[in-house]
C-alpha cells in the first residue's frame, strides 16, 4: 500500500447519483477521503448520507457516477465486492449473532475452510494480534449476549478488521454508547487512523464530529453543501449548514414553577414472570410546571418505568399516585383511565405503541381518544370532524406534509413524532410522559419539539422525559434522575449536571 502514488485518495466518489422512484436521494455527489483520516459525514435524516455510504458499500447501485478506491475505478455490486476492496461497515444496529461467541462471530463468512477447527485457531491468533495492535481486546470465548454494548461494537470493528478492511464506515456509532464508551471508541478510531486506516463516521451528533474528525462533510437534500476542516468550523455553523437556516438548540427557559405534586411513586417495583427485577423500589415525585429527565443507558428499566407510570403494566409492589388516584398491585389501572385522569403518554417506540403504521394520519391523530366527542357520536366515528381535528394539529405542530388522509407510515420519523406529540399535548394533560422525544428526529424538528415541551411546562404541565440523549436531557430537564439496573441511582439538579457526572453515574452503579 505504501507504494501507491501519493495523493490518490483512499475513497473517491465522482458524480454519484441515485433515485428511488420519485425521490432523488443523492444528487451528483463528488467526494474524496484521504487515506488515514477521520471524516465526519453529517446531515439530517433523508439528507442522503446513509444512501451514499450504502452505495459505497455495495448495498445499492448508483444510477450514475464512479467509485474509485485507492485511485482505481471499481464496480461495487455487493458488500462482497466492498469487502474485497478493503471497505468495512459497522452498522448502527449490530449484525452479531447473540448466541455465538466472539470468535464464532468473527469467522462467520470467513471461516477458512469447510471444517471449523483450523480456521478458528487461526482466527483466535489474529484476534489476539488485532487486540494488541489497536487496543481492542475482547475475550474470544465470551458469548456476545453477555457483552456490554460498547464491547459488542468492538467486536463489530474487529470483524471488519479481520476481513482486512483498510477503510471503515461507521453508521451512528455512538447512538447506543455511554459518554465513557464513546470516548473509548474515539480512542480506538484514533489508533486506527494512526495505523493508516481510513474512517468515515456517519452521525448527527455534531459535538462528537468536532471531537474526533479531521474533516466534516455536510449533506443536505442529497447534495454535499459544505466541506470543512474541523479546526475551521463549529457546531453552530454545521447545524446551520445541515438545516439550511439558523438553528438555536440551546433553550432559553426560565426557572420551573414547581407547583403541587401531580405524580408520586413510592417503592415502585416490577418483577417479571421469570423473577427478573425490572424496577427496584422507585421513588419519584413529579410536580406541576417542571420537567424531570430520566437518563440512563437504554435497557436499565426506563421502558418499564414508563409502562408502569402510563398504566400499561401493573407494578408488583409499591404505590403510585396520579392526580389523586392511588395505584398499587391490588388497585391496578389501565391506560384509558390514566388518560381520563389527565395523563398523556408519548411512547418510546412510536411505531409500535404510538401509532398504527397502516392508519391514516387522521386516525393516528385520535388514537386513544377515538371514543370521545367530537370524534365519536353514537358509537360512530365522525370522519369530517376527525379530519378537521387532524388538519388543525398538523397546522399547529408543523407536520409535513399537511395531509390528514396520508398513511402514518409515509411520514418521516420526525413528522410522526410531531403528530403524536400534537395528539397528546393538545388535550392539555396535567401529566405528560415522553419517551425518547426526538429519537430519529431531524435537528430542525428537535428544536421545535423542545420548544413545545418547555411551553407546556410553563403552562403548568408536569413532564417526565426519558431519553438516551444526554444532551437532550441536559437542555430540557429541571431535575435529572439517573437509572441503572432498574433503580434510580442518583439525582442531580440541571444546573449541576454535566455529561461526565451523569455518564459516570450511568455506568458505575
Amino acid at each position: 500500500m505504501q507504494s501507491l502514488t501519493a495523493g490518490a485518495a483512499a475513497i473517491e466518489l465522482r458524480d454519484i447519483d441515485k433515485s428511488f422512484g420519485a425521490v432523488h436521494a443523492v444528487r451528483g455527489v463528488s467526494l474524496a477521503v484521504a487515506r488515514g483520516s477521520i471524516t465526519g459525514l453529517v446531515g439530517e435524516n433523508g439528507a442522503g448520507k446513509s444512501t451514499l455510504m450504502s452505495i459505497l458499500y455495495g448495498l445499492y447501485r448508483a444510477d450514475a457516477g464512479q467509485i474509485l478506491i485507492e485511485g482505481q475505478a471499481v464496480d461495487m455490486a455487493s458488500p462482497r465486492d466492498a469487502i474485497a476492496h478493503g471497505i468495512g461497515m459497522v452498522h448502527q444496529h449490530f449484525m452479531l449473532v447473540d448466541t455465538f461467541t466472539v470468535l464464532e462471530n468473527l469467522v462467520l463468512g470467513a471461516e477458512g475452510g469447510p471444517l471449523l477447527a483450523r480456521g478458528m485457531a487461526a482466527a483466535r491468533a489474529e484476534l489476539m494480534r488485532l487486540g494488541r495492535e489497536y487496543g481492542l481486546s475482547v475475550d474470544p470465548d465470551a458469548r456476545v449476549a453477555d457483552l456490554s454494548v460498547g464491547e459488542q461494537q468492538r467486536v463489530e470493528i474487529l470483524k471488519v478488521l479481520f476481513r482486512g478492511a483498510r477503510m471503515l464506515i461507521l453508521d451512528e456509532p455512538s447512538a447506543v454508547l455511554t459518554p465513557q464508551e464513546t470516548d473509548r471508541l474515539f480512542e480506538i478510531l484514533r489508533a486506527l487512523r494512526e495505523r493508516g486506516v481510513t474512517v468515515v463516521l456517519i452521525t448527527h451528533k455534531l459535538r462528537e464530529v468536532m471531537a474526533v474528525a479531521d474533516r466534516v462533510v455536510v449533506m443536505r437534500q442529497g447534495e454535499v453543501v459544505a466541506e470543512r476542516r474541523t479546526v475551521d468550523t463549529n457546531t453552530d455553523e454545521l447545524a446551520e449548514l445541515m438545516v439550511g437556516r439558523k438553528v438555536r438548540l440551546d433553550l432559553d427557559k426560565g426557572p420551573p414553577l414547581q407547583g403541587e405534586s401531580m405524580l408520586t411513586a413510592r417503592g415502585l417495583s416490577l418483577v417479571d414472570r421469570r423473577g427478573v427485577r425490572l424496577l427496584d423500589s422507585i421513588d419519584l415525585d413529579l410536580r406541576a410546571g417542571e420537567i424531570v429527565g430520566i437518563a440512563g443507558v437504554s435497557g436499565n428499566g426506563q421502558t418499564e418505568l414508563l409502562q408502569v407510570l402510563a398504566g400499561i403494566r401493573a407494578p408488583t409492589a409499591g404505590r403510585l399516585e396520579v392526580c389523586g388516584r392511588a395505584v398499587d398491585p391490588d388497585h391496578p389501572i389501565d391506560p384509558a383511565e390514566m388518560r381520563e385522569l389527565g395523563l398523556a403518554h408519548v411512547p418510546e417506540d412510536r411505531l409500535r405503541q404510538g401509532l398504527v403504521a397502516a392508519f391514516e394520519a387522521s386516525e393516528t391523530s385520535i388514537l386513544g381518544y377515538q371514543d370521545q366527542p367530537p370524534y365519536c357520536r353514537n358509537h360512530l366515528l365522525d370522519a369530517p370532524a376527525v379530519g378537521r381535528h387532524c388538519a388543525e394539529l398538523m397546522r399547529r405542530f408543523d407536520v409535513r406534509p399537511q395531509a390528514p388522509g396520508l398513511r402514518s407510515s409515509h411520514f418521516s420519523g420526525g413528522n410522526q413524532q410531531k403528530l403524536i406529540l400534537a395528539r397528546e399535548m393538545s388535550r392539555l394533560p396535567k401529566v405528560l410522559l415522553v419517551g425518547q422525544p426526538t429519537r430519529g428526529v431531524d435537528i430542525g424538528a428537535i428544536e421545535f419539539i423542545h420548544r413545545e415541551l418547555v411551553k407546556s411546562r410553563d403552562a403548568g404541565c408536569a413532564i417526565l422525559i426519558v431519553s438516551v440523549e444526554l444532551e437532550e436531557i441536559l437542555s430540557l430537564a429541571d431535575r435529572v434522575l439517573v437509572m441503572s439496573g432498574g433503580r434510580i441511582v442518583g439525582e442531580v439538579s440541571a444546573d449541576q449536571a454535566d455529561e461526565r457526572t451523569l455518564g459516570r453515574m450511568m455506568a458505575d452503579a
Binding site: 448495498l59 458488500p79 452498522h91 448466541t99 462467520l108 463468512g109
Partner: protein, 306 residues
C-alpha cells in the same frame, strides 16, 4: 430371569425400531429449524415418501428404487416448502399445514387410482422390503443404523463445520449472514433439502421396513412427535434423540402391554395405552421441559431492507 432378560431385550429392540422414523425426522427437522425455517410439514413429507417408496418398490420390485422414490417425493415437498417460505416469504406454519393436507389427500387419491385397494399399495414381498441385517429377531434393517448414525452426523455437521456455523447464524440473525456476504436463501434451501432427505428415509422406513406397504395416514402424527422431540431436545441433536427414544419406548411398552393384565388394575384399555405417547407430548410441552429457546429467527421470512 431369562424371561425378563428376553423381555427387556425385545422391548429395547422394539424401542429402537419404533424410534427410527422419529429420529430420522427429528434430525431432518433440526436442520430446517436451525436455519430458521419451521417445519410442521414433516408429517406430510414422511407420508408422501412412504407412499411413493411403497408404490415404486411394488411396481419395480427394487428396494433401492423404492427408497430413492421416497427421498425424491420428500424432496419435492421440501422444495415446495422452500419456494413458499424462502423465495416467496410465505408463512411457514401455513405452508407446512398445507403440505400435510396435500400429502394426506394426494396419497389416497393416487393410491386408489393406481392400485384400487382403498388407498393402500399392494403388500410388499420380502424381496421388496428392507430386511434385517444381523439379528432377525430385532429386525435391524439398514435404516435403523442410518438413524443411529444420523445423530452424531447431525451434531458434527452443526457444531463443527462451516455449513453448521452459518446454519446456526442464519437461524438466529440472518442479517449477520447477509452482511458477511453469504446468501441467506441458499443456506436455507440447503437446510430444507437436507430435511427432505431425512424425512424421505423416514417415510421409506415406515412403508418398506416397519410395514409391508402403504396404508392411508400411516404416519399417524409421528412427524409431529418428531417435532415435539426437537423442542424437548431444545434444538440439540443428542437430547432430541433421547426424546425420540422415550417416545419409542412408550410406544413399544404400549404394544407389549396390550392384553396384559396389570395387578390391581386389571387389563389396561388398549386405547389408553395407545394414547400414552400423545399424552406425554402434551404434558411435556405444557412446561416440564423448562425454557426451550427456539432459534431467534425461526418463522420469520428474511427480507432485505432494499
Amino acid at each position: 430371569m431369562e424371561e425378563t432378560l428376553t423381555f427387556v431385550t425385545l422391548t429395547l429392540a422394539a424401542t429402537l425400531r419404533v424410534a427410527t422414523p422419529l429420529v430420522l425426522c427429528a434430525m431432518g427437522g433440526l436442520f430446517s429449524e436451525k436455519s430458521g425455517i419451521i417445519d410442521v410439514g414433516l408429517e406430510g413429507k414422511m407420508l408422501m415418501a412412504a407412499f411413493f417408496a411403497a408404490a415404486t418398490a411394488s411396481l419395480t420390485g427394487s428396494i433401492w428404487a423404492g427408497v430413492g422414490a421416497g427421498i425424491v417425493a420428500a424432496e419435492v415437498m421440501a422444495l415446495l416448502h422452500g419456494v413458499a417460505c424462502i423465495t416467496y416469504r410465505g408463512n411457514q406454519v401455513v405452508s407446512g399445514i398445507a403440505l400435510n393436507i396435500l400429502a394426506a389427500g394426494l396419497t389416497v387419491v393416487l393410491g386408489t387410482a393406481w392400485f384400487a385397494r382403498g388407498g393402500q399399495t399392494p403388500p410388499l414381498g420380502d424381496s421388496e422390503r428392507l430386511m434385517p441385517i444381523f439379528f432377525p429377531v430385532a429386525r435391524d434393517n439398514i435404516l435403523v443404523y442410518a438413524a443411529l448414525l444420523s445423530v452424531p452426523f447431525t451434531w458434527w455437521a452443526i457444531a463443527r463445520t462451516r455449513f453448521g456455523l452459518r446454519l446456526r447464524a442464519v437461524g438466529e440473525m440472518p442479517l449477520a449472514v447477509d452482511g458477511a456476504g453469504v446468501s441467506v436463501g441458499w443456506l436455507r434451501y440447503r437446510a430444507v433439502l437436507l430435511c427432505g432427505l431425512f424425512a424421505g428415509l423416514a417415510g421409506a422406513y415406515l412403508s418398506m421396513a416397519q410395514n409391508a406397504g402403504f396404508s392411508r395416514d400411516m404416519t399417524a402424527g409421528q412427524g409431529f412427535i418428531a417435532l415435539a422431540a426437537i423442542i424437548f431436545g431444545k434444538w440439540r441433536p443428542f437430547p432430541a434423540f433421547g426424546a425420540c427414544l422415550i417416545f419409542g419406548l412408550l410406544d413399544a411398552v404400549a404394544i407389549r402391554l396390550q392384553g396384559v393384565s396389570v395387578p390391581g388394575v386389571g387389563e389396561v384399555p388398549v386405547q389408553l395405552i395407545q394414547a400414552l405417547p400423545y399424552l406425554l407430548t402434551l404434558f411435556l410441552l405444557a412446561g416440564f421441559i423448562g425454557n426451550a429457546v427456539a432459534p431467534k429467527a425461526a418463522g420469520i421470512p428474511y427480507e432485505k431492507e432494499h
